[in-house]
């Protein structure tokens, strides 16, 4: 009996989809994907375990999938494999106000969790741009970041414990519910960011914070990226830890203008948007210091706003960046992270790579933590431009590595960054990755070929 036949007979009705349409790939442009034999949508951890056990017995790959909003191909289907979507596991099991934690199923949408926490006066910080659609399971798999992680950290910083189906089909609990704990190896942190290659997450216990205070926004227009870069450095040197510090370059501003006619690109070559959520007078003082940093670095215009609507208007260009650029063609999203002082030089290198490869590259960046998102735009159907963009993509990874950075700040390795990872990590470190993969997935069935090759490093 085939694995599909077995699952059809043993799982409750409605779990199995034999038409994989809609489950073939995530949102990574140009990442290859295979042809799966089925899609399963379990409702419980026990059903997930049942699927993984069947896959172990039949030696069939299983590709865990959240909402499919990933940008590296981590959820892309594998030939002959099963796609395991956690989209039906959407219960928020518990929000414990006293312990400041929540226990959720992996299919809970990030924004839904945040809303449920807000009702209890609590806050789940990780805020990837995909928060309205992406799920906590996917966020855990990719160790997702976002705007506020410059101050509040990334998903791994909030995951206290996990329930996981292992590569041998065991259903286990890792981590803890307590504020602290050092009982054994940090297997929880190891599974976070492992993109479904070390276990299938069936439940997540996250740490929460008290509801955050209202933010003040500081906007600055700059005549050059160099000036904006100096402003970012000045903010850091002033001892500020902003709750967001975003950069938008002139290509992005022009695309937003071409769509919404906001007149931004006529006024600035780069825009910086900072935020502070320090309370009361201290927040006022931080905003004023940030303003002084912007002005001192040569901002052509800069202002503080504590009005929510006005601040939202200032962030509009940031939010519109992707859709505005997608009007121009297909967008290949980069995700390098460099030391924050290297942001201006990295942006110059990107500009240079764009010219050299004849690729239009716009940039948005989480400037406060050096995480850049160069957006490579290619006219749909232009195969030659695609090839040039792929070359530019790899060239950007090399420059990031050369500057002491990393090929992926928050999107994950998936398929698109696998070659980059091999260039970033020394051979013995890649060998450690293979050893860990072999230890936790001895049958090699968990999302094979993602993050690292499925065979030994030399192959």
């Amino acid at each position: 009996m085939s694995v599909v036949e077995e699952l059809r007979r043993t799982l409750p009705a409605g779990r199995l989809l034999e038409d994989p349409a809609g489950y073939l790939h995530d949102e990574a442009v140009w990442a290859p994907h295979g042809k799966p034999i089925a899609v399963v949508r379990p409702h419980t951890a026990e059903e997930v375990q049942q699927v993984v056990r069947a896959c172990v017995r039949h030696q069939v790959p299983v590709v865990p999938r959240g909402a499919g909003t990933g940008l590296s191909g981590g959820a892309n289907a594998v030939d002959g494999g099963i796609v395991l979507s956690t989209e039906k596991m959407t219960a928020i099991r518990e929000i414990d106000v006293a312990e400041r934690l929540a226990v959720v199923e992996p299919g809970v949408v990030n924004d839904h969790l945040r809303a449920a926490c807000a009702e209890r006066g609590l806050w789940y910080p990780p805020d990837p741009a995909s928060a309205p659609w992406s799920t906590i399971g996917g966020n855990v798999a990719t160790n997702a970041g976002g705007l506020c992680c410059v101050k509040y950290g990334v998903t791994r910083d909030y995951v206290l414990g996990l329930q996981v189906v292992t590569g041998t089909g065991e259903l286990v609990r890792l981590g803890r519910r307590t504020a602290k704990g050092v009982a054994g190896y940090d297997l929880t942190g190891l599974v976070v960011g492992s993109e479904g290659t070390l276990g299938v997450v069936t439940e997540v216990t996250v740490r929460l914070r008290p509801a955050r205070r209202p933010e003040r926004t500081v906007a600055g227009f700059f005549a050059s990226l160099a000036d904006a870069g100096r402003a970012v450095a000045a903010v850091s040197a002033a001892g500020l830890v902003p709750s967001a510090l975003e950069l938008i370059d002139r290509h992005t501003l022009a695309a937003v203008d071409a769509w919404k006619n906001m007149g931004l690109s006529a006024e600035a070559d780069a825009v910086l948007l900072g935020r502070t959520d320090a309370p009361g007078e201290a927040g006022e003082a931080e905003a004023e210091t940030m303003l002084a940093c912007f002005t001192g670095a040569g901002a052509t215009w800069a202002a503080v706003s504590s009005d929510v609507d006005e601040a939202e208007a200032l962030f509009t260009a940031r939010r519109l960046a992707y859709p505005a650029l997608e009007r121009l063609g297909r967008v290949l999203t980069e995700d390098v992270c460099v030391p924050r002082a290297a942001v201006p030089v990295m942006l110059e290198k990107i500009e240079h790579i764009g010219r050299r490869h004849d690729v239009h590259i716009a940039n948005v960046a989480h400037a406060g933590d050096g995480n850049l998102h160069p957006l490579l735009i290619v006219r749909v159907g232009d195969a030659d431009a695609e090839a040039r963009a792929e070359d530019a993509f790899e060239a950007i990874l090399d420059e990031a590595i050369a500057l002491g950075g990393t090929v992926t700040g928050e999107h994950g390795v998936g398929l698109l960054k696998r070659d980059g990872l091999r260039r970033e990590l020394a051979a013995p470190v890649l060998a450690l990755h293979h050893a860990v993969k072999q230890a936790l997935d001895p049958h090699g069935i968990l999302n094979p070929g993602k993050v690292i090759e499925t065979c030994a490093p030399q192959c």
Copy 2:
């Protein structure tokens, strides 16, 4: 040629000590230790690599050791093994103000790093009680906590990258220097807290924060542990995140009084010491709210102080707890962590266990994160009392597990908590530990027998 002979010939002069006195064990009372064949004190990462490679070739265990201030036996010598002390590797290589990071050798004393950071307007938060003596390497090995981690997290939260000699003798870099990064598995986090069983740390890159603001201290005297526990719960429910929240019980107060005659035990059955470092008015408001929580929970006396000397005086009893109790006998230090709401009931259980096993148990606790340090005091030379204390020690672990807690909040497993760990973790999770250990230390030479048994879980 024996491994000692080989190291004597190949290492520079002065690295090898054949008399292991002073290197046999850490500060864990009653943890067994073996008889090592030598002690090496390398000066460089390459010398560490040389030692590990020799140990691989000769199949000789190597026990990494920091300052020996550990409380679980993690640094205890192993029969026929080599103790590798990192005490000579004391360079602070770099403090980068713009990137807010420091690169240090493992032998740097915690307080030395903190002082060097302070000179640059920066702060390294992890503050174990051992900070004047313990080293960053040891802090990394145990994932050390401290007073301020209730707000600022533990060592793992600050380790960006490591240089490590692996179990196969490779010298590798793990992690990154950037603020964010998801390139591959979190091997850095895996090595942190692994107590020298997965690699020997030769360099540590830590994230820093801007210098902290002055703290306000809130002290409260309570007529019962239950009242103090209610005050802790009220602080959490009020949405406060104190920068410290310490509890001292009457047994500890009595010991301090017996030594220093401070008159505390006549006034209170439990003392709570809270701190806030929120800035300006917000800090004032937080201190007042904390005071209201203390008073509302029935404090017999409570007050806020922003005077440094006065605050230090209030914390004197906390600092004197260990030496005061050591005057009464040998002190076996526990380190359980429970959900913070369970602190009062856990303290009751401890009291009960003390009575049942006829063991004198005092308590200090990082109450804000549920991390309790019951201190079991036994008259020196009283073998029967020792046996009773060991039973009480295990009984406390069981109660912590039963309350949803963990056997170790911040001290590590070492030898003393190895049995407790086996009771806390499910068999398949222990099997994952063994698989990871086997993957990263295939020769089984790295601190064997610590954290987990060296043979398979069933043995």
